[in-house]
């Protein structure tokens, strides 16, 4: 990106970057100034500024403020379950050399440069607490009451994994957000997939060949369940759910058709035999059942949790690998195959209704009340001709009315870059953003063929919901642009230029007392 400083002048109100500007009139910045993966919270929308190594809070009224992280660079921002605050994985550099002349990282010998990691709790744009966390940890799980956060390494998401010295890959960190000392607990190799019992009393953590239950009061390991007999064997938990009463954890493992049933009350293990490795499973508390679908089987299974017996399998035309749960209904789809089928399954009567969408599913979600399943459809190489071929070649949007059992597929002009579902009164709307198109499409899902178009200031890149019901729409705008939309009035408020915050600031070594090693 090339930025002419005269253009910046309008945006950089309140800043004095000129002392740091390069001698020529031009500076080159290769990386984006802001991360469009914004995080919405009650008090605003938090945005990472990778170049400036800053975090900024953007407010729905269009204003913005930097968040003081004491010189630390935000690497990942996650909202708390109640969205009242955000937690920020942040890192900062220190230099072991106490030389007073060392002010920037480049002044410090590489051998003396140390990366420090911490987790910062931010509320109302202000850092509230700072917790030391191992640098490699990059993910959080929350107890349902938001009282405890568990930090761990999500290797799958780990492009920014920082290894500094010794790393314990078996470790997770329990962080009591209401006060108290974080506590590291050794779980097992590659801990992931953390569940919490409904009483908020225990965390159930999967790791390679083991499942560990940890008390959320003492952070002590209560019980460890082995998944293999022989230490030379390895099984990797793939998916896990808790039964509604919190007594059992059901754990599937990679490449296996066996479903481990861990009794959390009276520690024992049982294994349910499925006919293939499950690709997705979801618990219905109302029906006391688990719905299980398979990538490799053309059927859906329902595990009755009162007896832990599989009901009579229900045949499908195509395998499904995704399940959503509406009231009394499971919605089945396949997000990876070329199938055009989606299904609704009545969990009470086992009645299955097949719907056909015109292109393969890319993404599927349910409206908040569960009446509609709305999916984005990806193009495919069609075998037909004419209009059918045209439809195949384009992105699409499908709307399935689960109550009326009707489905409709729409053709989209370009790839959808954002989809949000909102309910107002009796109506349910889909807000759709398309790549390269400066409009927001608002579809009444009861009549989705007649969208309302709202003009946007720039091509959008994504949409997210704020806790107050408004939406934040990010745009292709190098210096930062978010449009806040009130769906009740369709009023929009832009917030622009926030990515220029700290743009010209040179990286210095923070928290460095004069003449002392930090």
């Amino acid at each position: 990106m090339r930025i002419h400083n005269t253009l910046l002048l309008l945006a950089l109100t309140g800043c004095d970057p000129w002392n740091n500007w390069p001698p020529s009139d031009w500076g080159d910045i290769d990386a984006p100034l802001w991360d469009a993966g914004v995080v919405n919270a009650t008090d605003g929308t938090y945005v990472r500024l990778p170049h400036a190594r800053r975090l900024v809070r953007v407010n729905p009224d269009g204003s913005f403020q930097g968040v003081d992280l004491d010189g630390a660079t935000p690497h990942r921002v996650l909202p708390t379950p109640d969205e009242e605050q955000v937690l920020v994985f942040a890192r900062w550099l220190s230099c072991d050399d106490p030389d007073r002349d060392i002010e920037t990282p480049s002044d410090c010998d590489d051998d003396d440069l140390v990366t420090n990691a911490e987790l910062v709790r931010v509320q109302d744009g202000v850092s509230q607490d700072v917790y030391d966390v191992p640098a490699h940890m990059n993910a959080l799980a929350w107890s349902p009451d938001g009282r405890v956060a568990v930090a761990y390494l999500d290797y799958e998401a780990g492009s920014d994994i920082e290894i500094d010295g010794v790393v314990d890959l078996t470790e997770v960190l329990f962080i009591p957000l209401g006060g108290g000392t974080p506590q590291a607990v050794s779980i097992g190799f590659s801990p992931r997939n953390i569940l919490f019992t409904p009483d908020d009393g225990r965390a159930v953590i999967m790791s390679r060949s083991e499942v560990v239950v940890v008390s959320l009061d003492t952070f002590e390991v209560i019980v460890t369940y082995p998944l293999v007999l022989d230490a030379d064997q390895e099984v990797n938990p793939n998916d896990a759910v808790l039964t509604p009463d919190g007594r059992y954890a059901l754990v599937s493992v990679e490449g296996s058709s066996e479903l481990y049933k861990l009794d959390l009350q009276s520690p024992t293990i049982d294994i349910e035999d499925l006919d293939a490795p499950p690709s997705d499973m979801i618990v219905s508390a109302d029906d006391d059942a688990v719905v299980i679908v398979y990538d490799s089987l053309q059927r859906v299974d329902v595990l009755d949790l009162s007896s832990f017996e599989l009901k009579e399998p229900i045949a499908l035309d195509d395998p499904m690998n995704g399940v959503l749960l509406s009231e009394g209904q499971a919605f089945l789809y396949n997000r990876t195959s070329s199938s055009h089928d989606v299904y609704t399954l009545d969990l009470d009567t086992s009645e299955l209704v097949e719907h056909r969408v015109e292109n393969p599913v890319s993404e599927m979600r349910l409206s908040p009340a569960g009446r509609y399943a709305v999916g984005t459809l990806r193009p495919e190489i069609g075998s037909g001709s004419g209009l059918e071929q045209y439809q195949d070649a384009n992105w699409g949007l499908s709307v399935v009315d689960i109550v009326e059992q009707e489905a409709i597929s729409l053709v989209l002009e370009s790839e959808p870059v954002g989809l949000a579902l909102v309910e107002q009164g009796e109506a349910t709307y889909a807000l759709v953003l398309l790549e390269g198109r400066e409009t927001l499409l608002q579809l009444d899902l009861s009549a989705p063929s007649q969208p309302i178009e709202l003009k946007l200031e720039a091509p959008p890149t994504g949409i997210g919901a704020l806790p107050d019901g408004r939406f934040s729409i990010t745009h292709e705008a190098p210096l930062g642009l978010i449009t806040f939309l009130d769906p009740a009035t369709n009023e929009t408020t832009p917030a622009a230029g926030f990515a220029t915050l700290g743009l010209m600031a040179e990286e210095t070594l923070p928290r460095r007392d004069d003449g002392e090693e930090n």
């Binding site: 019980v223 460890t224 369940y225 082995p226 998944l227 293999v228 007999l229 066996e258 481990y260 520690p267 024992t268 293990i269 049982d270 294994i271 349910e272 035999d273």
Partner: protein
């Protein structure tokens, strides 16, 4: 009958605590076994010593299934050995809670003591026994002599004896062991303190029996009977020569102990006498028994012993209170050759058959009248069992026994099971896909269960209707048993982490638990 009706001795209890036959079920032994005729040296590595046919032209009667993995029950638990996983599984009854305990390598036999306080495994892979506290599952391993494959517990649960039983040997047993190997040894282990007493008893031990009070153990080998005083501080064998010809002795195959513990009766293949040993004086005597006795069984009430003299076609019935009294002799019809007898639980009937002749017939012996009726079968007999009430016989037929089977028969070259109503001898033969391996029955005698080699089925047989029901299991069953004081049958199945299914035959509900081996690793 050549002799007057049998003399009965009241108040005697069968002492065959270790007897395997399902028609001799006592309150502990619920798992089924069947009578395959008398023991023989078939499968042993050495000459049977008794001649090829015992002089009657027929091969020895076959005994080919020892069910070493038969589960062992207590009043509250059932213990199942898992040789592939070096564990024993304890199933609580009636909760069906399952937990495992690690034992030695390859547990091969499991037994429980009469007081239900201990379970004991003989571990073939590690040459030891594991004494398990039934409640706490605490274990204690006791080394025994090497290369054994059998274990017998005394009726009072005070002792176990381990030895090499050539008749029960499989390929693992027969594989050459490194170093010296003896075929004369027995290890006695006192369970109270784990004391081990190895001893030499005679070549090729055949059977080990105990007196009812557990004070004496006897080991019959080819040519000797070893009598061990188990009350001694250091038990040692008193070896008695039972074969007059030590150069080529007739092979001793079976031993019975009289209910009062005074005498041991020993049957030798190809002999025409039974050896009677006075266990008090240790005097060895002989009584006549017809030609080539091939089976010797006690009647269910323990008062009599029946020897099948196959060579002379007779049944010799002895009064066990006085083995020297003149026996009753029942002639077998001249057209038939029977080598084995299986008594009904009430002692009123005996089923006569042969596994050696390849003839598709069996005889029913009415003990009261002495009459023997002949009945035809779809195939020759391989093994035979009787339901606990004595109403139904289960006759198993081998796929390879087809000498007198029509090639058009649906049973030709197939395994089969014939259910016989012993009231009218009506038969319902069933063709089976594989060889049955284990059967068991409910204590009330209504139902039988069996499993087959490599087949994922649990077969349920209604002894009243002679109908069967097939239950599909999740994997191949290894052994089955009826839980104490219930009609629920369990089937332990192949699964590396352990699998048990419980079938309630009344409701048809099948409950399966898998992976319980992991429970012992829960911390």
């Amino acid at each position: 009958m050549k002799n007057p009706p049998f003399r009965m001795m009241a108040g005697l209890i069968p002492l065959l605590a270790a007897c395997n036959e399902s028609d001799l079920v006592d309150d502990k032994s619920v798992s089924g076994d069947w009578d395959t005729g008398s023991a023989s040296s078939e499968g042993a590595d050495w000459d049977d010593g008794g001649g090829g046919d015992g002089g009657d032209g027929w091969a020895p009667e076959q005994e080919d299934d020892f069910l070493s993995l038969r589960p062992a029950p207590t009043d509250a638990y059932v213990f199942v050995a898992n040789p592939a996983r070096d564990t024993v599984t304890r199933i609580s009854v009636p909760s069906l809670a399952v937990i495992t305990a690690g034992v030695g390598n390859e547990p091969h036999v499991v037994a429980t003591t009469d007081d239900y306080e201990k379970a004991v495994t003989f571990n073939r892979g590690s040459d030891d026994v594991t004494i398990i506290d039934a409640d706490t599952l605490e274990v204690r391993d006791i080394e025994v002599r090497e290369n054994f494959n059998a274990m017998e517990m005394s009726p009072d649960g005070a002792w176990v004896a381990c030895w090499y039983n050539a008749d029960a040997a499989d390929e693992i047993d027969r594989a050459a062991a490194g170093g010296a190997q003896s075929f004369n040894e027995v290890s006695f282990v006192r369970l109270s303190d784990g004391a081990h007493f190895p001893m030499v008893v005679g070549f090729n031990p055949r059977e080990i029996r105990y007196t009812a009070d557990g004070s004496l153990g006897v080991v019959v080998s080819d040519a000797y009977l070893a009598v061990i005083d188990l009350t001694a501080e250091v038990p040692a064998p008193e070896r008695l020569q039972i074969a007059e010809d030590l150069i080529d002795p007739p092979t001793a195959e079976e031993v019975l102990i009289t209910p009062n513990g005074d005498f041991a009766l020993i049957r030798q293949f190809g002999a025409d006498e039974l050896v009677v040993v006075d266990l008090l004086s240790l005097e060895v005597s002989r009584v006549e028994t017809g030609t080539n006795p091939t089976d010797l069984d006690a009647t269910p009430d323990g008062r009599q012993a029946v020897a099948v003299a196959r060579g002379s076609g007779e049944l010799w019935v002895y009064d066990l209170s006085d083995p020297f009294a003149l026996p009753d002799i029942v002639p077998v019809p001249a057209t038939e050759v029977f080598g084995s007898v299986l008594m009904s639980p009430d002692g009123g009937k005996g089923l006569l058959f042969s596994t050696a002749t390849g003839v598709s017939r069996y005889g029913s012996w009415d003990v009261a009248t002495g009459e023997i009726d002949i009945h035809s079968l779809v195939k020759p007999v391989d093994r035979m069992g009787v339901s606990p009430t004595g109403n139904t016989a289960l006759i198993f037929h081998d796929a390879d026994a087809n000498d007198d089977v029509d090639s058009d028969s649906p049973f030709y070259r197939n395994h089969a099971l014939t259910l016989v109503d012993l009231e009218d001898f009506f038969a319902n033969p069933l063709r089976l896909p594989a060889e049955p391996t284990i059967y068991d029955t409910t204590a009330d005698g209504d139902l039988g269960f069996f499993i087959m080699e490599g087949q994922p089925y649990l077969e349920v047989v209604d002894f009243n209707t002679l109908l069967y029901t097939e239950v599909v299991l999740k994997s191949v069953p290894v052994h089955i048993g009826v839980l104490p004081d219930t009609r629920t049958v369990f089937a332990s199945q192949e699964h590396e982490l352990g699998r048990l299914s419980f079938l309630d035959p009344d409701s048809g509900e099948l409950q399966t638990i898998t992976g319980f081996e992991l429970n012992s690793g829960i911390e």
